[in-house]
Symmetry: C2
Subunit: 341 residues, 2 copies
DNA sequence: CTGAAAGCGCTTACAG
DNA sequence: CTGAAAGCGCTTACAG
């Protein structure tokens, strides 16, 4: 396969002309006659631009790197995948590629650190927050990233004070599941979160306590369950709670996967949904309408989050300005797993 | 941030020494004293290798490009995602990155063509077959790809005669859903495939006809339904079949999504699963155990397929030899959507 | 409208 | 053990 120098040589013109035309067929700096000759030669000799060489000389790669600081295989979380969908669709529209670099390290903050010590070779970064990371480490990572000077946008993490691009998923009070349960007459509400220290769970617990308090309902530690975002763990933790006599008529879960874990535990104890217990999940995952009964769930604007992250990053790439914060409101999708008390 | 030349200058040594050490800390070609000095300077000056420059000069990118010839957003098919998981995990292990380049074109074969006319900048390719492509176009694409000389592995397509790396998902007779239905006493079996011309559907229809014939059961066109791999279309096509009086006591679907479409149609006609109709899906998707009733399904080795595709590609990259064909057998997972007649 | 030439940040024979 | 130098395939001021 020919390279640009060979094409130029064959036509007895300069590389400059070839480059100019190939990068902008409308350019006025090359005559129509020359353009036609180049076009023909490119076809005939099967010329394909070498994007690596292009990147090196132009100092632009047209590639966005996605940091997903997980040890386990990627592409397994429907939440993350949906966000990647939005991201990809928007980036492709503007001719950008997406690259996933190998991450190494025991936990997510170490991975990000190693990543930022590693090779550069992309125009910008999309940083995914992970559930398995404390807020302090999250902020530390963001600081490190800012120091590198690489443009980036952060998704799936709480709002941070730094002037960085962020897409934040937010639940307005009228879509708050706990609030909804209370308005439906429930007073004993189980909250199923992930882990004790991840920011998503922490924020949810705080919010839960606040909503209870403002409704004059007593808070009890034992009504907060840690399901680790896993089906099995949730199932066994719920069974424990039932066996310990923890009272509840409603359960809100921070993921749909955990909600089906709750389903299973309830079924094993012959508790009916929603007659005995109401259940709400989070994310409106693909399978949420196929469960028995179909699951009421808090739908987050996940695809849109990916899209907006791409847009804000692209904006920074063009203008060199960062700091755009975008809030996307979640919405309750009513199915048959909830009832008025 | 410093580059390699600056590091060398600061230490008053050559770039050669720096490069040698950085690419192989165990090298005998640099003294321990010099190694220590380089290491220190790299830390102090925050040196990060420039992977684009590295790729250009070494002619290796350590990047694998994935061709997913879809117009719609990627990362939305649980089947493809699971394959990507296997692919990613294996590639990361060996330090390879994954890149997704923007694809353009109306249909998948045009996308592949455009892709192969576009920029190069990766060591190898993973080519995903798409359901929405005829066998002829598939072969044409493979031929084009072979001509470029880029190492590649193909997944998710029927076995091709060319000496290329391929991972093929196969169903042995003992896991054949139609065979299973017949052995369970069913005689009126509906087959739900995707489209009329995609190779996956064609092969399945052929296989269906053969199994029926060898069991002495008459084949009827009206018992083959085209669901386009979509929930809604499947649902309405099944309802049509029921209204037309097409007889059936069992349904095999080429995807779990279509199977839940069947579920919905049956429920709307007050047909019970499995009492009135047995249903089998394909893929053992995440939600298959959460449906009502839990879905019996043909599990394909999707993750493994991704893994093996990566392995065979890596092998070709090392040895320059291609042509490895790997068959992975599918397996029936029994849940509660099927019964003996 | 066109071209000669420097440069992007590395690697890698080659020579010592 | 170490270094000078050519080269990877492009882009891009600069000069005409």
């Amino acid at each position: 396969m020919a390279n640009m120098a060979e094409i130029a040589k064959i036509l007895n013109i300069s590389k400059t002309a070839v480059s100019l035309y190939l990068n902008d067929p409308e350019t006025k700096r090359v005559s129509d006659a020359t353009k036609a000759r180049i076009s023909k030669a490119v076809q005939e000799h099967n010329y394909r631009p070498h994007m690596i060489a292009k990147s090196l000389s132009s100092a632009r790669t047209k590639t966005i790197s996605v940091i997903l600081p997980y040890n386990s295989p990627l592409f397994r979380s429907s939440f993350v995948n949906e966000m990647l969908s939005g991201l990809q669709f928007e980036l492709f529209k503007h001719g950008y590629s997406i690259i996933f670099l190998p991450t190494k390290g025991e936990d997510s903050s170490i991975m990000v650190k190693n990543y930022l010590k590693g090779a550069r070779g992309y125009d910008g970064i999309i940083l995914f927050g992970t559930r398995y990371c404390t807020r302090e480490l999250l902020e530390e990572n963001v600081e490190l990233l800012m120091q590198t000077g690489t443009p980036f946008s952060a998704v799936n993490m709480p709002e941070l004070p730094q002037p960085i691009n962020q897409v934040i998923l937010r639940t307005p009070m009228e879509s708050n599941p706990i609030q909804f349960f209370i308005q439906s007459g429930h007073k004993e509400i189980l909250l199923v979160v992930g882990r004790e220290h991840d920011p998503e769970s922490l924020l949810t617990i705080q919010d839960y306590q606040e909503v209870l308090r403002s409704s004059g309902i007593a808070y009890s530690d034992e009504q907060v369950i840690f399901g680790d975002y896993e089906y099995d763990i949730t199932r066994s933790e719920i069974k424990k709670a039932i066996n310990h006599g923890v009272p509840f008529t409603a359960v809100y879960c921070l993921s749909d996967t955990m909600a089906v874990g709750v389903y299973e535990a309830l079924k094993e104890h012959n508790l009916r949904i929603p007659e005995d217990v109401s259940v709400i999940g989070t994310n409106d995952s693909f399978f949420a309408c196929y469960t028995d009964p179909p699951l009421t769930t808090l739908r987050k604007q996940v695809y849109k989050a990916g899209e907006e992250a791409a847009k804000s990053l692209l904006h920074t790439l063009q203008t060199n300005k960062a700091g755009r914060k975008i809030w996307l409101d979640s919405e309750l999708i009513f199915r048959n797993s909830t009832r008025l008390l």
